[in-house]
Amino acid sequence: MRSVPDETATWLAIGLVAAVTLACRLAGPVVMSRIGPSPRIERFLQSLSISVIAALVASIVAQGGPREGAAVGVAALVMLATKSTVLALLAGMATAASWTILLSG
């Protein structure tokens, strides 16, 4: 049952999601341009950049489970040993794939 108002509401929603994501993309540097640079702010930003990715990984693993945890753990170890992102990704994928195949087959 698709009516004209439904279509309009969907387009409005698409516009809103796009506007929110664009605003978030632009907001960080705008906010920081109002805060003067200082060694402490610099350390804050440096720690922030590594923390946001670490928090993202931890959150995904926490929502996923041991399979995701094992894949990330293996990828991290391979990265540490080889300094190669490609090898780390391949090792992580192989771990997750073997986990799926072994536990579902």
Partner: protein
Amino acid sequence: MVKRNLKHDHVEASRPVLTLEGTVRGVRRLAPLSLFVLPFGVAYGVAAVEAGLTPLQAVAMSALAFSGAAQFGVLDFWPGPIAFGSLIFVALAVSARLVVMGAALSPWVNRLSPPRRLAALFLLSDANFADTEPALRSGERDVGILLGGGLIFWVTWVMGTAVGAAGGAIIGDPAMFGIDVVMVCFFGAVVVGMVAGEPNWRATIPPVLAAIVVSVALVSVLPLGWNVIAGALVGGVVGAFRAG
């Protein structure tokens, strides 16, 4: 006098730029990784059409919003009537980490001209941030790699969505090939690379641990997305107030 000139040269040399050459380099840097986004784009296209968007709307959503997390997150609001207030809140929750990433890039981005600033940030996402931030920190000057990385991800994301929305079936289960863990493994590898690449690497451990503990502790307490922001901010504060 000579000393002053040298200092001046140094400042000029380290001034960030955004060039076409850098953008092309960004495309190349992330092209291999972006291929793994295709199945997720397809999955989004299928899910969006199932939820009640038209194929054109599904593709428009991917092209305009360009955020897998936000787009999947708001699909629950279809079919309508759409609760616009809640929709904005969900989109904001999963996109707020882009504010944090933008802030982390501000030392470079804010030294560009306003039009270039806009170009650099327009396609900011998890993947090109994770690729660009460590590169800039280790001496890269061209913020174009951020734009280029975003462009190639945008292309594969929109293409995947179009295939899925047009009725393309999902070929096999991405989990079977481990494709579903590629991005999280990439982010994990980036964290390791950032810690290992830091001369004073011990100083990076407390913020990282704080970020992990806080984001995991709050994962079921806060609405999805805010736990990542909370973890990142606590990690940032721990780093800012460390001794030295």
